[in-house]
């Protein structure tokens, strides 16, 4: 019989910091990946001109893409770390829904996207919806 390791229950601030780490690294990854794709232009056009290999080459030679993938990997390991200390029913809905809002804010600031009232409403609806669905 295996005896589980006794684990100290993290406080509210520690739990908040863990979820914030997941949300912020995920947002950085999504925004950098989106910036990389925007800098390349329409991938369908690239594939039409240079074929599938040309499109793959264009993505794999873009430094911003690798920066995005790096932060997405950090987000993945931050999620694993958070799941090791906190309940899935807290981490999954909180990180999934908060990421939608932080992405909308980051897209407006860094990608200069036109996040109008329609998109803010959608972000809030989807954020609450994901929370309810995943909770």
């Amino acid at each position: 019989m295996t005896v589980p390791f006794p684990q100290a229950h993290p406080g509210a601030w520690t739990a908040t910091a863990m979820i914030a780490a997941v949300v912020l690294s995920s947002t950085a990854g999504e925004v950098l990946t989106a910036a990389a794709m925007k800098s390349l232009g329409d991938l369908d056009d690239i594939r039409a001109h240079s074929g599938l290999k040309g499109a793959i080459r264009a993505v794999l030679t873009c430094p911003l893409f690798f920066a995005g993938v790096f932060f997405l990997a950090v987000a993945f390991f931050a999620l694993l770390f958070a799941l090791n200390h906190l309940n899935l029913s807290l981490v999954a809905p909180a990180s999934a829904s908060l990421t939608l809002v932080t992405n909308a804010i980051a897209a407006k600031i860094f990608l200069k996207e036109n996040v109008d009232r329609r998109r803010w409403t959608a972000a809030v609806f989807v954020c609450v919806g994901v929370y309810l669905l995943a909770h």
Partner: protein
């Protein structure tokens, strides 16, 4: 802002984004639960797991998701594409209700309605932020 209407092909790609991620996760989950417990002292078992049908299908679906997600980001805003990925949760919940006959609580139905409304809001708007065309160098020189 000009309307960037999507073609049927682009709508299909967004559909792939929504469907491939949750289906891929489901395949991985099903494949891993069918495997005996894997210990870190036998990493070879983890490599062997990759070649089982469910895990291989899950990996193929997740590669399909990432490829279609990247393509969608090349012609649409991040704030347009992300709700499409969240719509995958709705598809999984509906599949579990009508295919696996699982029960869905009132709270989860409310979540489904909110995500659907949110995706509907975004889909009615433009897919890409209009940016001013870069001024040609010759015109910049003339303007000085």
């Amino acid at each position: 802002m000009a309307q960037h209407s999507l073609t049927l092909r682009q709508y299909l790609l967004l559909g792939l984004v929504a469907v491939c991620a949750p289906l891929g996760d489901t395949c991985l989950s099903r494949g891993m639960t069918q495997m005996p417990a894997i210990s870190l002292s036998h990493p070879g078992a983890l490599v062997a797991a990759v070649f089982t049908p469910w895990i291989a299908s899950g990996i193929a679906l997740l590669i399909g998701f990432f490829a279609s997600y990247l393509t969608a980001l090349s012609w649409a805003d991040l704030t347009f594409v992300l709700p499409a990925t969240a719509f995958g949760n709705v598809i999984v919940a509906l599949l579990s209700r009508f295919w696996l006959h699982e029960s869905i609580s009132l709270e989860r139905w409310a979540g489904i309605v909110l995500i659907t409304l949110g995706v509907g809001f975004v889909a009615q708007g433009p897919s890409l932020t209009e940016r001013p065309a870069p001024q040609p160098e010759a015109e910049k020189v003339e303007a000085r």
